[in-house]
């Protein structure tokens, strides 16, 4: 523990940037995936195209994507924006399908009823479809969150610092404790993300917990 005790400040600074680099893309990715997922449901021909494209995106190695970013969006090589954009792409790739499937999980008779009551457009989406898709979307978001926390650590190789630095630095200087600290910190962070999403889901879906109480 001596190494850890001497480096708390550094660990916290790295953890904070890790939260930003993994968390911000999660939110941006969700915001982008919502309309895309909706479009995939709305137009049946769009669905296979969107799903296979997003699946392909996810197969691009993260290091390659990080390195290519400045070439694509014209940023500086060391700019953390590169990582945020790349991570957002991964998140979208994971979430488009989740959103589409979540919206697809809304029972048909509920949709029919909503139409027949005179719901339309945005109000139907935000008032009926999206709330009912929350359980499926939240499940996908949890996967994306954990995956983001892990992928972001690769960004150390392109000079954007976060908890991954502990791994690369520990490896370079043979400090096992530093490597272990990096692993543990990533796991703790992933658990915190997961817990927050779970909490959010519970707050948004009180009706799911009421199910057992049937009298």
């Amino acid at each position: 523990m001596t190494w850890v005790n001497d480096h708390w400040d550094e660990i916290f600074t790295l953890a904070r940037s890790h939260v930003w680099l993994a968390g911000l893309p999660l939110i941006l990715g969700l915001l982008i995936a919502l309309p895309l997922g909706w479009a995939a449901r709305r137009w049946t021909r769009v669905y296979p195209v969107l799903i296979s494209t997003s699946g392909l995106l996810y197969t691009i190695p993260s290091l390659a994507l990080f390195v290519m970013m400045p070439l694509i969006i014209g940023t500086k090589v060391l700019d953390p924006i590169n990582v945020v954009v790349a991570m957002t792409i991964y998140t979208v790739a994971l979430l488009v399908r989740t959103v589409a499937d979540g919206l697809g999980s809304v029972p048909d008779d509920v949709l029919q009823a909503a139409r027949a009551m005179g719901y339309r457009g945005f109000r139907r989406f935000f008032g009926v479809e999206l709330p009912l898709a929350v359980p499926v979307i939240a499940a996908g978001l949890r996967v994306a969150a954990v995956s983001n926390v892990s992928i972001v650590s690769v960004a150390s190789l392109i000079g954007v610092s976060q908890l991954g630095n502990l791994l690369t630095d520990g490896y370079d200087r043979f400090i096992t404790e530093e490597i272990l600290a990096g692993i543990v910190a990533c796991v703790v962070l992933a658990l915190i993300f997961d817990g927050l999403i779970l909490l959010g889901q519970r707050l948004l879906t009180p009706w799911l917990r009421a199910q057992g109480a049937r009298s």
Binding site: P107, D109, Q112, A116, P131, R214
Partner: protein
């Protein structure tokens, strides 16, 4: 008044769901669409609120062509109830009921008051208001569905097999609640079912559709049972239509016999009749007992409950059934408060039936005129 004029629905690929349908659903009445599956009854229903657009022909609401109306506004003015209620699982019962008022821009408080009032109206306890649909039984959900459709007091209601997914006992309760409500509210209702008994019980007029979406016959239920236009309709209305048509024949004055009764708890040991009728303190019939099998006072477990009870103001079907089902062969007749007025024998009911006229006039056309 809802009017179909030469309405046809043809799907790409050539399937005709509804074929040249013309009919009028009079204001304030229940029109039932009934037929086997594939007869286009649900398609016809859904064309009214434009969930499905007709290929040709027009549907008008009080003279206005629905194709010219704003879709969402049209729908908000039409109550809609479907088979599995289609309640919003993420909203409480109260919020479900308040859906359309909120869409119409009523304020929160007004909507909640109205929703509570409707829950009471459909016979749901106020403490159910804050539950979620998954916490209700099928029958309760369906009541919420009806309350939701009525929330904004629409003049028109569309009901697509609303009671067919619940068990027969609950279905009957729901039908009775529904008829009571309709008695008070007088909505213009289109009701879809595949169950001819339900059609006959609920409809002021019944439209029988055949596979391929052609109208086979439209008339009032009594006339339909008495005069089916062809083999298809005759088959569809069923074998025991003669017996069922009795339910539309109001009972004339029955030749009632006085019945010897005992009150629960009294002794019947000294009675020498085979069957005696047991009543409660208010003279309401409870059931029959056989004095020869009881050596002391009558207790609840002695009662034979096989016999049905008919109201004197009810139909001939009820009176005949009371006589047929009674173990003593004497049918128990009560007044509207449930008090015993006497008993009647099957042959006496039958002579009344023979004396009664068969319905020779179709009242459906009269309804249409009265509604226009």
């Amino acid at each position: 008044m809802i009017r179909f004029d030469n309405v046809t629905k043809q799907y790409p690929g050539g399937t005709v769901a509804v074929d040249d349908l013309s009919l009028t659903a009079p204001t304030g009445r229940i029109t039932v669409f009934v037929g086997p599956s594939g007869c286009g009854k649900t398609t016809s229903l859904r064309m009214i609120n434009r969930m499905i657009e007709p290929t040709t022909g027009t549907i008008s609401l009080d003279g206005q062509d629905t194709a010219t109306m704003n879709e969402a506004e049209l729908r908000r003015g039409i109550g809609y109830v479907i088979q599995h209620a289609g309640l919003f699982p993420h909203r409480t019962v109260l919020d479900n009921v308040g859906t359309v008022p909120r869409l119409l821009g009523w304020d929160k408080k007004e909507t909640r008051e109205r929703s509570r009032e409707l829950l009471a109206r459909v016979g749901l306890a106020p403490e159910l208001a804050d539950r979620y649909p998954s916490q209700l039984s099928g029958g309760q959900q369906q009541r919420v569905g009806v309350a939701r459709a009525l929330a904004a007091d629409p003049p028109v209601m569309l009901m697509d097999e609303p009671f067919s997914a619940v068990d027969p006992v609950v279905r009957e309760q729901l039908q009775d609640v529904f008829l009571d409500l309709q008695g008070e509210l007088g909505k213009t209702i289109i009701f879809v079912t595949h169950d001819i008994d339900e059609a006959i019980k609920l409809g002021d007029q019944v439209a029988v559709l055949r596979v391929g979406g052609k109208l086979a016959q439209i008339s009032d239920p009594a006339y339909l049972l008495a005069h089916p236009v062809d083999d298809f309709v005759a088959d569809f209305v069923g074998r025991d239509r003669g017996y069922r048509s009795l339910q539309f024949q109001p009972t004339p004055r029955l030749p009632l016999a006085n019945e010897r009764t005992v009150v629960l708890g009294e002794s019947v040991a000294d009675l020498s009749v085979p069957w005696v009728l047991v009543v409660d303190d208010a003279h309401r019939p409870l059931g029959w007992v056989e004095p020869s099998r009881i050596d002391a006072e009558v207790r609840t477990e002695h009662l034979h409950r096989g016999g049905t009870v008919a109201r004197a103001s009810g139909s001939l079907r009820g009176a005949l059934d009371a006589a047929l089902s009674s173990p003593s062969r004497r049918g128990v007749i009560v007044d509207d408060s449930g008090e015993l007025v006497g008993t009647v024998r099957a042959h006496e009911v039958l002579s009344l039936i023979e004396a009664a006229d068969r319905p020779d006039e179709d009242r459906a056309s009269a309804l249409a005129e009265e509604g226009s």
